[in-house]
Symmetry: D2
Subunit: 215 residues, 4 copies
């Protein structure tokens, strides 16, 4: 049996749940074929703990593909992140009260890693299935980017492809906040992540179509 | 048997479907109690036809409550409209190619009508159910506002309460457009509209809590 | 000598100044022709005081044209308001700590008044001068709308035309907040308001071009 | 005499001017001290030409500091870019009709370069002067990012510090488009860029305060 590792985060800031974990835990154990299944694991939203916990997950699960998932308040679609940068710059404290400013994720590491997933094919497949998706060129500078960078660093040079997807708030989070921020239904998130994983597994060479931003 | 009338629009502009009609048609025939049911009707997205078609629906259905529903591209929640204004000012042509500019909905009619639904109670009930909702103070100046004004004008002075709700794009519309505009799942829209109707039926006096905007 | 009355508000909420007052006070005393000059007056940002103070200004100045100006945080252009509604619904307390919810501006007054300025000609003239401007269909439900409604109510039936313009933050306000909200330079605001006044004075019949919103 | 090189772009897409060039050309020749002056140069908005033209500028001017400036439609402040990535992914064709998709800026180059300017001190100084500014973590994937990456690549390992600043539309561009996109007055842009240059020249060690984004 081959494993696809999906990670999601525990709740952070004002929230009582995190759509990234709610999504991936519903896919835990899903069989994608006779010999490929999804394994979901939760990561802490804490700079000091998340990278080490990620490395444990990688060692335990021995995945053939990894997608880390996180929440991006205010975004309206599945954002497939293209680049992880070697920088922590926390606007707010993490769940342990730490707020690193202008520190590297990995001292001495390269400035950035690109996602190794076929991101254009994934966006195309998601949109074809009626699920809003796009390429993003910044995963921020908080624990999401830290985990994304740590993941790409850990797997650099290996044959295991990996990346990061940001997801919107759940409807109940937008409802509770009483704000006008966008949200996405859990069912859409789960189906979207399933499609993203399948597309990543089944696409050897990415398609060539723009996902760019002028600025 | 008492009827609640819900109206939705046909598709317009670039779209091939309209979430307002997709939502209300799924509620058509729903029994809300032993003697109250929902009747859904479609309205054309055309200034010349929509008000007359609305009047026919009112005459046919003899409703005890009416909620007209329309699409608001770019909004992220169920927007309960508070005020309908006596003004057509079309930024784009309607489905018949007409584009009235600065004409009244009803010549000689009052400048505006307020919604007669318990809108604060509806927003509260929707949020409590985990469905993003808010009060809006402009229904625009296109066919949506024309229908809303026509509805309030037709029922002015009657005991039948009525109003208008704007809904976001469906996910497949945002996916097809490839844009970053927000969307809402059809299941959420249907459940939200059901809750809105029930709350309107069961709330005699609206709650007093702010839904205001500073500007 | 004929007077054009411009009003601006004192600072409110977290701000230490208000761009509406900063703008109009710089136009105070400006001669627009041999016998027309601008008179600027400040209004309190308080529901209990603003309408009465406005009426005093009207009585004192005996204007031939009135434009009230207020701040709209988050807007990026000169928003010429089209409609004032008979509703106070304060999301936050005013400068006296009052927060009216769902009360009328004028008990028994009409639901709304339309602006009596040539708003399309004003937008056209501003854009031609390189100053961002648009028509808005909601002035909110706070003191700005209250003043706008009170103004239209006071002058209803008279030959004196009047309206309301919302302006963005000043750059220093956006800078201080550290947010990504738009702003406009004071020089642009002052020149824009001068053009708006001149266009209103010199345009008998408004131009027919859309300023509408689909929703 | 020491030179500070500022570059701006020619107009592109639908625009007839480019605020980046309008800004820097007004600073051309400005003396910052007895022996430091600003030299402004224009770059083409074309993937095939911009890097080579930049290298010529560097060779000609022999600068002690370089800030490249570009337009970011839709942004509202001076965005000091933190990271340049080794990726071209053009959403629209450049001025020569070329639209590279998923090509490297420099084949074999590192995935990214960080800005070598004291960006936090620059944001602080700009805000203190009343000019909206922030740190950005994506310069896009068009010619702006290409120039930024090329600049950091050319100066990597040297003592010459360099970076990229994105600026908003000018007011007349927003006015002409009739859109609600934010803009900034040319005077504010010029003063802002002057402050940014002075701060970069005079700050040896950057301040430690967050400019981060959660996502």
């Amino acid at each position: 049996m081959h494993n696809v590792l999906l990670t999601g985060f525990e709740a952070f800031d004002q929230d009582t749940l995190n759509p990234s974990w709610e999504t991936v835990r519903r896919l835990d154990g899903t069989l994608l074929s006779d010999d490929v299944r999804i394994v979901a694991r939760q990561l802490p939203c804490a700079f000091e703990q998340a990278p080490e916990r990620l490395r444990q997950c990688l060692a335990d699960v021995q995945p053939i593909l990894v997608i880390a998932v996180g929440l991006a308040q205010g975004r309206s679609d599945l954002s497939i992140e293209r680049v992880a940068i070697n920088l922590n710059d926390a606007r707010i404290p993490d769940n342990l009260g730490h707020q690193p400013i202008d520190t590297p994720v990995v001292p001495g590491g390269p400035a950035a890693y690109f996602c190794s997933l076929p991101i254009k094919a994934m966006v195309r497949a998601l949109r074809a299935a009626g699920i809003p998706a796009s390429v993003s060129h910044s995963a921020g500078t908080f624990v999401c980017n830290q985990v994304f960078y740590s993941l790409q660093h850990a797997l650099a040079g290996s044959a295991v492809r990996s990346g990061f997807i940001h997801v919107p708030w759940l409807p109940q989070q937008a409802a509770q906040a009483g704000s006008a921020l966008p949200s996405m239904a859990l069912e859409t998130l789960v189906e979207g992540l399933r499609i993203a994983v399948l597309t990543a597994l089944n696409t050897e060479h990415d398609v060539l179509e723009t996902g760019g931003q002028v600025s």
